[in-house]
């Protein structure tokens, strides 16, 4: 087959389309792996903990988030669209009044923030929040 420029372009873009389809969101499997490592593959319940994050983050550099996980011994936060999914792990000591905390995080793109709580009884609970990360202004 004669490789004309047109054929090469069509061939190339076809491969690209295939590659894109199979890789969204880019880091979701990294996050799944990190979560599996944390839970040992155990099932995760939902509904017992809450995660608060803005629907639209004005700037991905500094996104305020908060969680409340009554009965949790430890809470780990992940960002499934970040190059490194782990965000932070909060271990609660004997003098913590509530199993809650707020912080500010970096989000590279629109993605889910995931909170996994390891409860005092050894079970796991999950909460997810989708945050749209925007680019604004004329300079970005």
């Amino acid at each position: 087959m004669e490789m004309t420029r047109r054929k090469l372009l069509a061939f190339g873009s076809g491969t690209f389309a295939l590659a894109t389809l199979s890789s969204l969101p880019a880091f979701a499997t990294l996050t799944d792996d990190a979560i599996a490592e944390l839970t040992g593959g155990a099932d995760m319940g939902e509904g017992a903990i809450t995660l608060t994050a803005p629907e639209i983050a004005e700037n991905g550099n500094t996104v305020p988030i908060a969680f409340d996980a009554p009965g949790a011994a430890e809470v780990t936060l992940f960002a499934d669209g970040n190059p490194v999914p782990n965000v932070a792990t909060f271990k609660f000591g004997p003098l913590s009044a509530s199993r809650s905390a707020s912080t500010r995080i970096r989000l590279a793109t629109t993605q889910n923030v995931v909170a996994i709580a390891k409860m005092e009884d050894g079970s796991f609970q999950m909460a997810k929040a989708n945050v749209k990360v925007t680019i604004g202004g004329c300079g970005g």
Binding site: I56, P64, G137
Partner: protein, 283 residues
């Protein structure tokens, strides 16, 4: 907070349709630390003929960004203020003095930020706060000048601004300052750059609209220096002007240049009546 998103095909379209529906800034009100009441909306001053109401940039930000500014602990810009408080008491220069040696505490600066830029009789020109700070340093302290938009200078302007929070901006535009003010006004309305944009095209004709995902403000500077989430640091007025001009793809002026001094005086006057808010938190 309601936001109206308009799909705008090109910048030219923006300019050719001045009657586009404005998305109003939100209705929230700002009180800092529960006791500093900030005016974020008021009647436009007479010399700002094309606006009827002026709004602080705070009103155009998301609820989360607004919350950052309501408490001095939550406001990352206050880190700069604390750094400046250390500098205030630090002896620097051949005269063996610190700011405190002459000025006592920073609270003695209350009211200063509200009236700058201002005509300086001795110098025979309009000066900005940064110029006065450097003048103090070189003339009275025998210390080195600070870089005009550098960290030390911006932190110090933030400190001086913080003690005027809640006071109305009130820069003089008449008398000896008039010529500089007129020059600033001309710059404000002149289109420049590859994108042929003037300050007014965005901040007067199009405030309230979305520019990509940013809620366009009126470009008021009552909140400067401002901690921008975008670069996680305090930004000075001239640094912002430089960025804006660069964004129109024009050759930008230098911080401290006569053009930016004039522009700062004019832009400050468009906010006469709003409260001094800096250090504020913006996108």
């Amino acid at each position: 907070m309601k936001k109206t998103t308009l799909a705008i095909g090109s910048v030219a379209a923006l300019v050719l349709m001045p009657g586009l529906a404005m998305s109003d800034p939100d209705e929230d009100s700002l009180t800092i630390n529960g006791d500093i009441s900030i005016v974020t909306e008021t009647d436009a001053p007479a010399h700002t003929e094309n606006l009827s109401t002026i709004y602080s940039g705070w009103r155009f930000r998301s609820d989360e960004t607004q919350a950052f500014q309501m408490d001095d602990f939550d406001n990352p810009g206050m880190i700069g203020v604390e750094n400046a408080m250390v500098n205030w008491d630090t002896i620097d220069g051949s005269a063996g003095k610190s700011c405190a040696s002459c000025h006592e505490g920073p609270e003695t600066m209350a009211g200063v930020r509200a009236v700058y830029p201002k005509w300086n009789d001795k110098k025979g020109k309009v000066t900005t706060l940064a110029m006065e700070i450097n003048d103090c340093r070189t003339t009275h302290m025998g210390a080195e000048k600070w870089k005009y938009t550098g960290g030390d200078m911006t932190d110090m302007v933030a400190l001086i601004s913080s003690v005027s929070r809640g006071m109305p901006v009130n820069v003089a535009i008449d008398g000896p300052a008039k010529e500089t003010w007129e020059k600033g006004k001309e710059l404000y309305y002149t289109r420049t750059g590859q994108l042929e944009l003037s300050c007014a095209n965005c901040h007067e004709d199009s405030y309230g609209l979305m520019i990509r995902a940013d809620h366009l403000s009126q470009g008021q500077i009552n909140g400067f220096p401002t901690y921008r989430l975008k670069n996680t640091k305090l930004n000075s007025v001239h640094a912002r002007f430089k960025g804006c001009v660069r964004d129109t793809r024009a050759q930008t002026y230098k911080p401290g240049s006569p053009e930016f001094i004039a522009l700062e005086l004019y832009v400050a006057s468009r906010g006469n009546g709003l409260s001094v808010e800096g250090p504020s938190v913006r996108n």
